[in-house]
Symmetry: C2
Subunit: 529 residues, 2 copies
């Protein structure tokens, strides 16, 4: 990093390198400048020179479809969006009091949350490196607030450790660090690593382990006030005659090695999950609504696509009005299809066998979420937990606390389950009432206040969501190798988009990056002479 | 933790244990119940039965004085607060555009920040376990927002490592973890720790190290996409034909052992500093203002205390009006003196030699802060840094980014220096203009945009603050042993309070806990027959 060189200059230079020498060269240049790339987002797309009167039909009004429609419309294309649901947004979705939702199987839930409370059944957090979605939030004045995510005072709970008692993250993490540091220091000092570490680095390493791991002079991790300064106190520092702190007991090493401990630690430091993260103030659907408000005449709701055909002259989409069952045909020059693969694989679409194989190849995950409303914020009042996540090895997987309106009186909603894998399928097999009971039963192992304070709940098991049939694409390496390029390349007048057509399945950022790539391909073809 | 047992019951029981068997037994009981104490705060004080007409003079309108005045007034005491400055709040202080500040030596700064921007020269963050200050924030409807503190995308900068180039925290932390895990796994596998770890735990430990440290099957920490998923990518995951991620290069192990790396890691996981933390929306002084607004007639400003006398009948405080130089005397039954020890040690106070020795014993730290206003939030726009702290081994010590109004257009203020120790003294020795130049010169090593985007700055070197002569008490263990109990015990009609009379010097929480203890002592004595 050289001084005096401004970010603008650097950015312009990188863009130039990207244009001239390709993306690979640009990323190399960025790394050489000490700037690993944050994102594949390179700014709003340049779609200048759109042909007059060219029409694009966009299938699906999730974020991928909405972005495509918004940018193509701005560029001069005529746009029509066909959306199956009676609202735009897709998985960019927020459930509030009064909302109803009917899942596959026919169970209908009416949400009873108090005004202002909500559940984001789909995406619920935005990373600082999700530059595309942050770009549009900024452009549309969607207010963001921190999604706390990582809270050292939240719990880690294992049914196989600590006698089943939830532990504060700070305690288990400090004890993990301390034990690891002490063991490694022992190994260094007994010469066991002389082949692996130079003499100079051995001394640096010992200093680092002593500091980072809060070891004593004998390089042991031991109960004491210094260690409590990294974990917690039996009696924390205070004032007056009894103000002196008392150290806390360490946890058994065997239990500290429980997988839920290091999996939690790893989760919070992973590239996708590490702070700073965000949520829109008031609910995730503020983003979809911001897009949709800029497309006041372009979105046709309640439109179930049944067929997508193309020839040299254009695209024809057949669809049914889900209220009247009346059939329609929409003709356009181009088509951006953002339907999830679970749905698209059941629709007659005129593309190559290779693309059809790609569309059918990828299975979808079946996550399930349960939102629980409680009379009061007992996690804040009783346990000093403000936002963030407690992890458990039970099927609910976690309890995530609201990141807004701290200290507010009255009811609040927390995420009482985010079940993945087997847990997701198990919750999907239950009625909505049974899901809430499961979330209460497992959650009260962490928060005994649950039963007394509970008001109502709402759940979404994604395999039962009629317009998704799953939560997100689950790409295997083999499927990537066989099908990804076939899926994302434009074929004739049709291009697919959505988080499934990205390396960020399940993230809104993936949907937006895919959509940007798709409309660039479309525009390139539409403007080729 | 047993199910069905509510928090209310637990809390009530603990309070009962505390009342009957004392604080020590209560803390033991809390630990036994799986709940380490969060704080020595046990709720608003019970001061019932205040004698009619009893008057208390409170010296100093910082948070300790304000709390004492507020609670004593509520309990029925007659209260008068004497404050040296022309505003209440003390170090609970926020500088905004238009504010002026004159330091010792005579230099006057007029702050030129844009409306809404501010610098908190004193306390700037509140921990989730600061239950006393959070109690009053809640009671007074002081709105809180997260103080991000820990941001994996902020920088770690050392003049002795990485060629002087700032590195993202996530990269250095991942490489530190990965190398430590791999070395320890090697030591375990070569039998070097067989004496220290049981066979069963060795297997658990290896599994944990592999997972936590993102090691490959040979238990090596190696460049690759898995590792990039914990640190960063050369090209992050995206969409379209070039959507595949590319792994990033690891940092040299020698550099990863630089002290600024593990010191940063340790800082963010320390009990005092770990998330969740808070700041009041709009500036820290919202708390002092909330207290002061509840004491509309009790506070006398511009009152310089010159003597504090007591006898069997009462207390007499001599003070000068700093505007007129007129001398006054205030008589009261009791006195809560919250003046900092730097000031109090220069005032004639009628207490024992032991207490006088305590008052004179404790040195104060000399921290210095510099706030810098820039044209735009380049750290957000160019570097995806939203809130949090970048650490450097230069004297400025850190750069801390605003935690509010993300994505806002227009100027924003960051904390460009929080110099401690030697650095604090060096900055105090400079003129305000020189401090800003130092902050710019050091800060641009991290952010080359500094010079181009800079608008104005403001600084506070605490050793030059006329009403403090330092930032906070620095208690040594020897001073604690010799003087602490003498300092905090009520003597006759005078009791001292303030963060200096606590084990949390420099924290507002310490001031409040001390004040609560002081007024309980006072009330106990005032109601003793």
């Amino acid at each position: 990093m050289t001084t005096g060189q401004t970010a603008f200059t650097r950015r312009d230079m990188l863009r130039a390198i990207g244009l001239i020498a390709g993306a690979g060269a640009m990323y190399q240049a960025m790394t050489a400048l000490g700037h690993a790339a944050e994102s594949q987002f390179t700014g709003a797309p340049d779609l200048s020179g759109a042909p007059r009167g060219a029409k694009v039909v966009v299938l699906g009004a999730g974020l991928a479809g909405l972005l495509a429609a918004y940018e193509l419309e701005r560029a001069g294309y005529e746009v029509q969006v066909l959306e199956y649901q009676n609202r735009p947004g897709g998985r960019n979705w927020t459930l509030r009091g009064g909302d109803t939702y009917t899942e596959l199987g026919g169970a209908t839930q009416t949400v009873r949350f108090a005004p202002g409370n909500y559940l984001n059944p789909g995406p619920w957090r935005i990373s600082h490196h999700h530059r595309a979605i942050l770009h549009y939030c900024r452009a549309f004045n969607v207010r963001l607030e921190p999604f706390i995510q990582f809270n050292n005072n939240a719990f880690v709970h294992s049914t196989h450790a600590f006698g089943g008692r939830p532990q504060r993250y700070r305690d288990v993490a400090a004890d993990f660090h301390g034990n690891v540091a002490s063991l490694l220091a022992t190994a260094v000092n007994t010469g066991g690593l002389d082949h692996a570490v130079t003499q100079d680095d051995r001394e640096r390493l010992l200093e680092a382990l002593k500091g980072w791991g809060t070891l004593d002079d004998s390089l042991t991790y031991r109960k004491g006030l210094h260690v409590s300064g990294q974990r917690s106190y039996a009696r924390p520092p205070g004032a007056g005659a009894d103000g002196a702190p008392l150290p806390s007991d360490l946890l058994p090493f065997h239990d500290v090695l429980d997988p839920v401990v290091w999996k939690s630690m790893k989760f919070f430091t992973s590239y996708d999950m590490q702070p700073t993260m965000f949520q829109p103030v008031g609910g995730m659907d503020m983003i979809g609504k911001a897009f949709a408000s800029r497309l006041p005449h372009q979105i046709t709701l309640n439109a179930k696509v049944t067929g997508i055909a193309q020839d040299e002259k254009g695209v024809t989409v057949r669809w049914a009005d889900t209220r009247s069952a009346e059939m329609h045909e929409t003709k356009a020059d181009w088509c951006v299809c953002t339907l999830p693969l679970t749905i698209l694989s059941q629709i007659d679409i005129q593309v190559s066998a290779a693309k059809k194989a790609a569309i059918s190849a990828v299975p979808y995950a079946s996550h399930a979420k349960v939102g629980l409303e409680f009379r009061r914020r007992f996690w804040e009042e009783d346990e000093a937990i403000y936002g963030g996540i407690s992890f458990t090895d039970q099927e609910i997987a976690l309890v995530s606390y609201p990141n807004d309106n701290f200290h507010a009186a009255g009811p609040a909603v927390l995420l009482g389950a985010f079940a993945l894998g087997r847990g997701g399928y198990d919750l999907a097999g239950m009625t909505p009432e049974e899901r809430i009971e499961a979330a209460l039963k497992q959650g009260e192992k962490i928060h005994p206040q649950y039963r007394k304070e509970f008001l109502s709940g709402a759940s979404v098991a994604w395999s039962r969501v009629p317009w998704m049939l799953g939560c997100r694409a689950r790409w295997s390496e083999a499927d990537r190798a066989a099908h990804y390029q076939n899926l994302v390349s434009m074929e004739g007048r049709i291009v697919l988009a959505g988080d499934h057509a990205s390396y960020m399945a399940g993230w809104q950022e993936g949907a937006l990056l895919s959509s940007l790539d798709a409309i660039r391909q479309l525009h390139h073809r539409a403007t080729a002479v």
